[in-house]
Symmetry: C2
Subunit: 146 residues, 2 copies
Amino acid sequence: MEDIDRKIVALLMRDGRMSYTDLGKSTGLSTSAVHQRVRRLEERGVIRGYAVVVDHEAVGLPLTAFISIKPIDPSQPDDSPDRLSGIPEIEACYSVAGDESYILKVRVGRPADLEDLLARIRSSANVTTRTTIVLSTPYENRPMTA
Amino acid sequence: MEDIDRKIVALLMRDGRMSYTDLGKSTGLSTSAVHQRVRRLEERGVIRGYAVVVDHEAVGLPLTAFISIKPIDPSQPDDSPDRLSGIPEIEACYSVAGDESYILKVRVGRPADLEDLLARIRSSANVTTRTTIVLSTPYENRPMTA
DNA sequence: ACTGAAATTCTTTTGCT
DNA sequence: AGCAAAAGAATTTCAGT
């Protein structure tokens, strides 16, 4: 990817609503040129979309946890991500190398909700779970530096 | 938090650039009313900001990993997050309950970069590390359902 | 690919209920 | 808190280089 495109992406990571006028000033291009580049980045899938960044505490989901899962029957094909995709508390699902097969990142309101969620995960996907509670988040979703 | 506010936030999670006109149509409010609510959500810190969602492969950082760290000398005060905050490859830092003290989420270009990053982490923070490589990401940053 | 300008739409402010 | 209308700014399109 090119240098100016990289800069545009980096700027949009810090402020996803930055105007093309301001992006132009920061890159030395006209608004139309920036606009065209952003459109292409979107078309090529480099830019997947735009999202609001929320305070999870304020939105009623103060409890974050990582849940590692492992199939109970390793001889069966593992379609855990599909089986779990309907559970809204699961914010992310990573297939990982190591003893366990997936790491889930989940957000709930309180410990009792986590207990309930774990039961749903175990029964939906036929897996064992290992939960790591997040106590605080020094930083998260930091923009890449470019 | 109120029901309409929750809906506005949920919509902005799916499309952070959705116009106030469209937000109004989806919530049954006028553009001004929606605008006022979004402004308050921003002031109250419920909405922290807006960001572009990028394809990390396309942007040259295809390799993701979770690195759990543990202080070598547990008697010392642990200021790892501060010490590590200058390392751009670290996208997130979570303080966690359990055997280890923090989980870092990192993104690099290739395995050799990860090796280099691990060396920097160990020397900067005086910690041992345990790395879990992400093989694929079935889903990530899914919007909360509301 | 970039520029500049015109047409359209969105944001933002203000006054009113 | 919400609505409507007006002013200002941004997006989007288009012709030209």
